[in-house]
């Protein structure tokens, strides 16, 4: 007994969450978000629309980072939920639900539709899970592309919001995008602080050890899959209210997966900060390489290879190689008093 009490941890370690820096970071994030809410009043319509596109990208990145970075499931099928939500907003508007109200409903529906999908996809693991989700996304595209009331293969326009002036419409869309972006980041942050977040980090680090300590791996993964689908659905719902049209080939484009993977990899997979950094870099690249057509996609693909092989934890991993820092207070820290 005495040997145990004489252990170095005689004094109970002090457990804190968040450093001064991370609390400062959280404050900065909140201030930036509040300031961004006033952006449409200051900047022109073009900038507002650019920022909306940026928020949509960031939401996608957050969704994919959850499923791949924390859930350890490489999905190449999240475009299923992006396209599904776009079409859900359209379908609801055809049934008399104004598109603004359609957005939250579409998000919930995306989460719900991902439940049966998860039961099929979870039969597969690793690489075959990846292609399996891709096939499921193709099924979504083929089925929705045949609904003639939704425009069939040619697509359809959302005419719901035509009575608003374009600038008002763009501003409201902007606020929707900003709000959903903050929501997606907030939910992720709170989730990671919660019990299920700890289970997730345990699953991310080592599935078998997590299972051994009593974490229900499948249930945790399914929860993440559903949440990620809802977040990607949010991006899809925003896409239709900002573009005002849908088309099966573009709404379910595999390119969305490429974009999400690129952003998360470059920023830092499995970190809260990674998607934010990745989305900023992707957005800048997209704006500068816009004139280079397909070369831009070639560069994205090459970058994905290079980063995976030589910088596997992305830019945030390089900034924070030992998991010490964090932008917002997320992780517990142990302080052992040596004296």
């Amino acid at each position: 007994m005495s040997e145990i009490t004489n252990s170095p941890l005689d004094v109970a370690p002090l457990v804190t969450r968040g450093s001064k820096g991370s609390r400062l970071g959280l404050g900065t994030v909140i201030v930036v978000a509040v300031l961004l809410a006033f952006a449409p009043a200051i900047t022109g319509d073009a900038t507002t629309n650019d920022l909306t596109q940026f928020f949509i990208l960031l939401i996608m990145a957050v969704g994919w980072n959850l499923v791949a970075g924390y859930g350890g499931m490489i999905s190449i099928g999240q475009q299923a939920f992006i396209g599904f939500a776009s079409y859900a907003v359209l379908d609801l508007s055809l049934h008399g639900v104004l598109a603004w109200y359609g957005v939250p409903i579409a998000i919930v529906l995306s989460g719900l539709v991902s439940i049966p999908v998860s039961f099929l996809a979870f039969r597969l693991r690793g690489g075959y899970f990846a292609i399996g989700t891709w096939v499921i996304a193709q099924v979504f595209q083929l089925v929705i592309g045949q609904q003639s009331n939704l425009g069939g293969g040619a697509g359809a326009s959302l005419n719901d919001l035509n009575n608003l002036s374009p600038i008002t419409r763009d501003d409201i869309t902007y606020w929707f995008a900003l709000a959903l972006c903050v929501l997606a980041l907030g939910v992720t942050g709170f989730l990671l602080r919660s019990r299920i977040g700890m289970a997730l980090v345990a699953v991310r680090d080592d599935e078998h050890s997590a299972a051994a300590t009593g974490v229900s791996v499948v249930r945790t993964k399914r929860f993440i899959f559903i949440l990620s689908a809802a977040i990607c659905g949010g991006a899809g719902a925003l896409l239709i209210i900002s573009n005002l049209e849908v088309q099966p080939n573009s709404s379910f484009a595999i390119q969305y997966s490429a974009f999400m993977i690129f952003m998360v990899l470059v920023g830092g997979i499995g970190s809260f900060e990674g998607p934010i950094i990745g989305a900023v870099i992707f957005f800048i690249l997209e704006q500068t390489l816009d004139n280079y057509g397909v070369w831009y996609l070639v560069i994205l693909g090459a970058f994905a290879i290079i980063v995976t092989l030589w910088l596997p934890r992305g830019i945030w991993g390089a900034i924070d190689p030992r998991h010490r820092r964090s932008l917002v207070p997320l992780r517990y820290e142990l302080h052992v008093d040596e004296g």
Binding site: A68, G72, I74, I76, F119, L120, R123, L124, R125, G126, G127, Y128, F129, A130, I131, G132, W134, V135, I136, Q138, V139, L142, V143, Q146, I254, S257, A258, I261, L265, I269, G293, V294, W295, L297, V298, L300, G301, A302, F303, A304, I305, T308, L309, P312
Partner: protein, 291 residues
Amino acid sequence: MIWLNAVVQGLLLGGLYAIFACGLSLMFGVMRLVNLAHGDIGVLAAYFSIILIEHLGGNPLWTFAAVVPVAALVGYFLQRFLFDRALDGGELSPLLVTFGLSIVIENLLQQTFGANDQSLNIGALSYQSWKIATDVYVGRLNVIIFVIAVIVIVGLQLFLSKTRTGLALRATADNRRAASLSGINPKRTRSIATAIALATVAIGGLFLAMRTSFAPTSGSSDLLFAFEAVIIGGLGNLWGTLIGGIALGIAQTVGSQINAADGILIGDLVFLAILAFRPQGLVGLKSEVAR
């Protein structure tokens, strides 16, 4: 008779899917690597053949002799310099690297050749056919593709069970550590597996290009069909892959017969049904379920 016709055409189409699928299956078996650029490499081979014909002329059939060995060589070094490195990086790296490779290949092809459909013109062989029953004709090319598919699968099976290298591949598939302890060089084994996989997918790519038109982005759907064939048939079993390819081909042609636009969807649904109700595949063992 139209249904018999649909089934016969589907059976022949299934051979092509099996050629695409066997390489995917082999690489997964030997090193748990799913090559998401598999289909794109087949399409790349078809474009290579187009370039050869443009410069040297003749019937595209001769280009098999050039394209297939080059594909094998490329596969050997692709494994050495890219995939091996990716495999060292953990479970997710190979997927991300091969997905990146897929995007690079598709868009480079689009940049070089444009997005338009192309095809390999093999002259009279593309439309000659045999009559096997009233109103049921089989294209000679399709029969040849099917026969080659069976030869490829049988050849691969014989190679894996009769040759020293084949045994090394199977040993590595069963237990990597034990294989390397018994003197098998894992690097070489992996490179050989990828060389074979790329050679077979090049054969598939050329046949596909002779059978139908193709475009830079065709590789993705080829990958999905190959994957569906593997899962429908059952993992870790080459005969299963052939049967899976045939089942998928028949599902698609019968589906098209029901509604012209529904072929691919019916194929997908058969795949999902197998996944839901018989995850070990049509001929797979229960222990092999999508490890």
